[in-house]
């Protein structure tokens, strides 16, 4: 058997964003999901959306380290997609009972809840970053998201040297942290 076909290896690859592993899982599962979505009043765009969201759920689960999948990848991805699509349909009131007849294979509610909580956290962080305005937003993104080093950033943004860029970055970082943590610390309830 080709090592790539080994599910455990695939999940290990997925956890480190290995493109070959992602591609294999994608290739082996996408069509199944597209059929599921389209036969339940969705479009190909919906299918892509839902499938990629499910891939992220799986990716984030494997990334945690202490994770074992108690079923085949196929079964898991199918369950997650089914749930996500059901939720989407309910949101836009296109819910039909037909979907109910599709048996639920593995319980996935908790994984989806975790995923939604993460999405919300990321939304807060992205909102905090965009509140910063320029040049802070680009500077922070270049360093912390795109992981460029200070010299590259200095060149890209036209700072005279890396030291200047760095000082500016820390000033931006102070503001970002203030915005970010004010969303967490909800007042001094214990006054």
């Amino acid at each position: 058997m080709h090592p790539e076909n080994n599910e455990e290896e695939l999940l290990k690859g997925l956890a480190i964003n290995d493109k070959r592993a992602v591609e294999t899982i994608y290739r082996e599962n996408y069509n199944m999901i597209q059929t599921l979505i389209i036969s339940n009043s969705g479009t190909t765009d919906d299918a892509k959306d839902i499938f990629q969201e499910a891939m992220i759920v799986l990716y984030e689960k494997t990334k945690g380290g202490n994770f074992t999948l108690n079923c085949q990848i196929k079964t898991y991805v199918y369950s997650i997609c089914r749930r996500l699509w059901l939720k989407r349909l309910q949101q836009i009131n296109r819910y039909s009972n037909e979907m109910d007849s599709l048996s639920e294979v593995v319980p996935s509610e908790e994984d989806i809840e975790d995923h939604e909580r993460k999405n919300e956290e990321f939304r807060l962080m992205e909102k905090a970053i965009s509140t910063l305005g320029e040049p802070c937003k680009s500077l922070i993104e270049a360093f912390y998201i795109q992981k460029m080093n200070m010299q590259e950033i200095a060149n890209l943004f036209g700072y005279t040297n890396a030291e200047n860029a760095k000082n500016q970055k820390y000033k931006c970082l102070m503001r970002l942290k203030k915005i970010f943590f004010s969303q967490y610390k909800n007042g001094n309830g214990n006054g």
Binding site: N17, Y26, N31, Q146, G158, T160
Partner: protein, 364 residues
């Protein structure tokens, strides 16, 4: 400006960019100065969040690439690109043009460089000493305040119960958990619920090392409560997860919110976890709950220095204490950990439901 310098030091420390001697110096500083320690913890949480976001974005772009690739090669049944998009895809595939985009952005950004003001850096330790001084003033004020508060308490309370804390029910038969340091020097113990009803209580288990004590209400007027609405979380809690607590820092129940800032407590203590929450003396022994209303820990305010640095004893050690108790004395075999659930309920409702199960612990 000096705040920037400290932040820089904290970030370099977390990212492992300090030279060995600098690192030793910084670690000592962290040990001596609670405020610096809290900054490290907080910044770790922050960097963790940003990093997760970066990884998520990277994964999303991998997915996009893979999707387009597979569709073009007809390996999945998805629409192929047409017209302009197709040209862009092919162009990207064979020529990475990041450099072009980068240089355009560079020219735009040139304008900003003029705005950058360089500043003269002061020594880190100078600033930190200053911080230390400020901190000791705050601490002194705190002590004075506390003394005054105690005075007032003594005047109000006719029963002359001197110090207090918080405790909460772990079994409706009248078993409560609190901090060991709350009841350490007690001759008599009384617990009072949010309605003001007072019951006598006795200590049935004491663990000074873990700072956990189990009390039993020993009062004829106490009626057994059949079900407790919360439960104890067994698995670990995520960094930066929002949490809340309810306790008796003063004569009525007070609610507080915060987040989990470190999975291990002060200087890597695995017994506790560090939380950022506003807490006062008297909050000792309060339950720490997550968004689902599950008890994740027992609040312990042993650290006096920095504001917002609070430690919680992880809930699994409460379980452990009860197991120890059962082993030591068979008459407590019937203690059952609660299995209620507050999941999916609005916070205000959760708080209302919790109120009746949290008690003020008074001693003399």
């Amino acid at each position: 400006m000096d705040d920037v310098k400290i932040l820089e030091a904290v970030e370099r420390y977390i990212r492992g960019e300090m030279k060995p001697d600098e690192r030793v110096y910084f670690e000592q500083l962290r040990k001596d100065n609670q405020e610096v320690d809290q900054m490290v913890v907080e910044h770790t949480v922050f960097l963790h969040q940003v990093n997760e976001l970066a990884e998520r974005k990277e994964f999303r772009s991998t997915l996009q690439e893979v999707h387009t690739d597979l569709a073009e090669k007809d390996l999945i049944h998805s629409a192929k690109l047409k017209g302009n998009d197709k040209v862009i895809y092919l162009w990207n595939r064979y020529k990475r043009v990041a450099a072009i985009a980068a240089s355009i952005a560079g020219i735009t950004a040139l304008t900003f460089s003029g705005l950058v003001v360089a500043f003269s850096p002061k020594q880190d330790n100078q600033k930190l000493q200053e911080l230390d001084r400020k901190l000791s003033i705050v601490t002194r004020d705190n002590v004075i305040q506390k003394a005054e508060l105690n005075n007032i308490k003594r005047k109000i309370d006719p029963a002359s119960f001197t110090s207090g804390g918080t405790g909460f029910l772990i079994d409706g038969k009248g078993y409560l958990v609190t901090n060991e340091h709350v009841i350490k020097n007690a001759k008599n113990i009384a617990v009072q619920n949010s309605k003001g009803i007072i019951y006598n209580a006795i200590v049935i288990h004491q663990d000074a090392a873990r700072d956990i004590a189990i009390l039993k209400i020993a009062d004829d007027s106490f009626r057994v409560i059949n079900s407790i609405p919360y439960n104890f979380k067994k698995s670990s809690t995520d960094l930066a997860e929002p949490i809340f607590t309810m306790g008796f820092p003063r004569n009525e129940i007070v609610y507080g919110e915060g987040y989990l800032s470190s999975k291990t407590g002060f200087l890597g203590d695995t017994l506790t976890c560090q939380i950022a929450i506003a807490a006062n003396p008297g909050n000792s022994g309060s339950p720490v709950l997550n968004k689902n209303g599950e008890v994740i820990g027992l609040l312990s305010t042993r650290q006096k220095a920095a504001e917002g640095v609070v430690f919680a004893i992880q809930s699994k050690y409460i379980n452990k204490a009860i197991e120890d108790l059962k082993k030591a004395d068979s008459s407590y075999q019937n203690i059952r950990m609660p299995s209620g659930s507050l999941k999916g309920i609005e916070r205000t409702e959760q708080v209302k439901k919790l109120e009746d199960y949290i008690f003020m612990v008074k001693i003399n």
